[in-house]
């Protein structure tokens, strides 16, 4: 936008040459074209969401009509109540939040701790261990799925939350270590030096100086940790057996296998599961982007 107006004002005092005017029009046309393409694309991308929400408010007899009605009539919000009461989704939510909270504590404490070590302390072997962090980041989870399952069943941890929470207390996942390391590297060393002069130990510097400064990284990591726990399907599928231990994700999956054709209720339950994620996105958009930038591409 800036460039266009600049060009206008600088070109005008001269002859307002045809060349400039043409460039201006070309630019406008180009932008118009981009808007059109983006609008069409955005509409296609949002169609599944629209379909989801519309279906979730329809009564069952209106679900099975072809071609479908685009405005639910009668409008039926009771679908949500029925879907969320049919299975104990309140309990599932409580279970999920238990896992989420434990994961948050684990990741925020141990990933930042390790990340600080990798970012700020020079010691022999550091590069080797950091390469290992990156390597574990690249290794697909399924490779260790079976042996880990056997380990956990030997420990008697099947149908408990331990397999979904305890491992995170050991470093909190390679991705999070990496994220914290990137963040701590961007903080000025002078702060740590000031702490050292005042007699602060390295642990004090980490806990009293660096951690209070890393709220953006903490927020980012917290968001991704929440999403991972909220969305996780395979973990609860393998390790949770009893209905009273289920998470929201596994609850929705079993709800699906019970309700073969009540698509309106299924859509209501799905909407209820998606909604927190979308709300979180709108509340914390900045940290989503920060996480992507931090993780991706700064050295």
């Amino acid at each position: 936008m800036n460039m266009v107006t600049q060009e206008q004002t600088t070109a005008r005092p001269l002859s307002l040459s045809i060349r400039n005017r043409r460039a201006l029009w070309e630019r406008r046309l180009w932008k118009g074209l981009i808007v059109v393409i983006l609008s069409v694309g955005a509409f296609i991308m949002s169609l599944p969401f629209i379909w989801l929400v519309i279906s979730s408010f329809k009564p069952l007899e209106k679900i099975f009509i072809f071609p479908p009605e685009w405005i639910p009539n009668p409008f039926r919000p009771q679908n949500y109540v029925e879907a969320l009461v049919y299975k104990p989704f309140g309990l599932y939510l409580f279970n999920t939040m238990k896992i989420v909270v434990l994961n948050l504590v684990a990741v925020i404490l141990t990933a930042s701790f390790c990340g600080y070590g990798f970012a700020r302390i020079r010691f022999p072997g550091r590069d080797f261990w950091f390469a290992l962090v990156l390597a574990t980041l690249m290794i697909p989870y399924f490779v260790l799925m079976v042996p880990q399952f056997i380990m956990f069943s030997r420990l008697g941890w099947i149908d408990t939350f331990y397999p979904l929470t305890v491992p995170l207390f050991f470093g909190g996942g390679a991705f999070n270590i990496f994220l914290f390391r990137q963040f701590f590297r961007s903080l000025p060393e002078e702060l740590a030096d000031a702490g050292r002069i005042d007699g602060c130990s390295e642990f004090g510097i980490y806990w009293r100086i660096m951690m209070p400064l890393s709220k953006p990284a903490l927020a980012t990591v917290a968001i991704f940790t929440f999403l991972a726990a909220w969305n996780d399907y395979i973990g609860p599928l393998l390790y949770l057996r009893s209905d009273y231990n289920f998470t929201v994700a596994i609850g929705l999956a079993t709800f699906r296998s019970v309700m073969r054709t009540e698509w309106n209720l299924l859509m209501a339950a799905s909407t209820a599961m998606i909604l927190p994620v979308i709300v979180l996105f709108f509340l914390a958009q900045r940290y989503f982007v920060e996480g992507i930038v931090l993780s991706g591409l700064k050295g």
Partner: protein, 312 residues
């Protein structure tokens, strides 16, 4: 503390094992800091990897005692039709879904990197699908691909096309899953976008002075400078799509006629439905080797064409 303040700030019990030289002290501190990772690596990584190796040469159903079988699992695999099928399905899925998401993500990131009114709305619209929880995503798309009343066939009907039994016909089930995966292309797109925004504007200004047009700027500035990001997305895409599981399990559960029997699903069935722990571990190792070889191949042949420049 109160009695020792005159001599030292650290409590005196540390003197016994806290090393004196600065370098040694730093090393100890460093290792204390990364100790959670080291422990975690040993317990949740190295030991399971060893167990997996041990499993590949054993027959074990978790109940009766394990039996040593040598390389039997590998020969079984060689003759296992469903193994080859699952490998083909996963490879096809990867070969189609990864390049399309790569191109879509890049093109959309280019378009979204312009300054127009409402751009943040557009960015959100393209990104949101990629954060939808996998289970909810699967339930939603199972409904969209419903033959009689689903959105997909409604859309086809608008163009006067006949209905497709997406999830019942072997030839359409895999394309349906690929469409689902494409809906989530926004996760790669934002990474491109971050990369595009990191390109210094001076490069474009310099090129404009030299008379470069849109195409020339794209070809000679944008693409080379974001090529590390393209490469990153390619690697992540390949690794990710070899692990696809949730959608295949919940939407089609591998059917019809194994048309969507992706590799991890087949592994899961072996381990947790047939309780063939040894065979499943062998399958995991084989896929791991395939992914590693593929990644190295990509690094060698495509990685060498990536343009690295420290723009900071």
């Amino acid at each position: 503390m109160t009695t020792t303040t005159t001599t030292s700030i650290t409590p005196h019990w540390t003197h016994r094992f806290w090393p004196r030289s600065l370098a040694a002290r730093r090393a100890v501190t460093g290792y204390i800091f990364i100790s959670p990772f080291i422990l975690g690596f040993l317990i949740w990584f190295l030991i399971p990897a060893g167990v997996a190796l041990w499993l590949t040469v054993h027959d074990w159903n978790l109940i009766s005692p394990p039996k040593y079988v040598g390389a039997k699992h590998l020969t079984t695999m060689w003759e296992d039709e469903r193994f080859w099928k699952s490998l083909t399905v996963t490879t096809t899925y990867t070969l189609i879904s990864v390049p399309i998401s790569l191109v879509l993500g890049f093109v959309l990131a280019l378009l979204l990197n312009t300054k127009i009114w409402g751009i943040s709305f557009f960015r959100t619209a393209y990104y949101l699908p990629s954060i939808v929880p996998a289970v909810a995503n699967a339930v939603l798309w199972a409904w969209i691909f419903n033959t009689e009343y689903g959105l997909a066939n409604v859309a086809l009907g608008m163009f006067g096309l006949p209905k497709i039994a997406w999830l019942q016909r072997p030839e359409w089930a895999l394309p349906a899953l690929i469409i689902v995966s494409l809906w989530g292309f926004g996760s790669g797109m934002v990474i491109y976008l971050a990369g595009l925004q990191g390109i210094p504007q001076v490069f474009y200004e310099a090129a404009e002075i030299d008379g470069a047009g849109r195409w020339a700027k794209l070809r000679h500035i944008t693409i080379p400078l974001v090529s590390p990001v393209i490469f990153f997305n390619l690697i992540i895409g390949i690794i990710g799509s070899f692990q696809v599981f949730t959608i295949a399990r919940l939407v089609t559960n591998g059917g019809p006629q194994n048309a969507t029997l992706v590799y991890v699903l087949y592994m899961y069935q072996n381990a947790f439905q047939n309780l063939k722990m040894g065979y499943a571990a062998a399958l995991a190792w084989v896929l791991f080797v395939i992914v590693v070889v593929l990644t190295l191949f990509v690094f060698k042949y495509i990685g060498s064409r990536v343009h690295y420049e420290d723009v900071r």
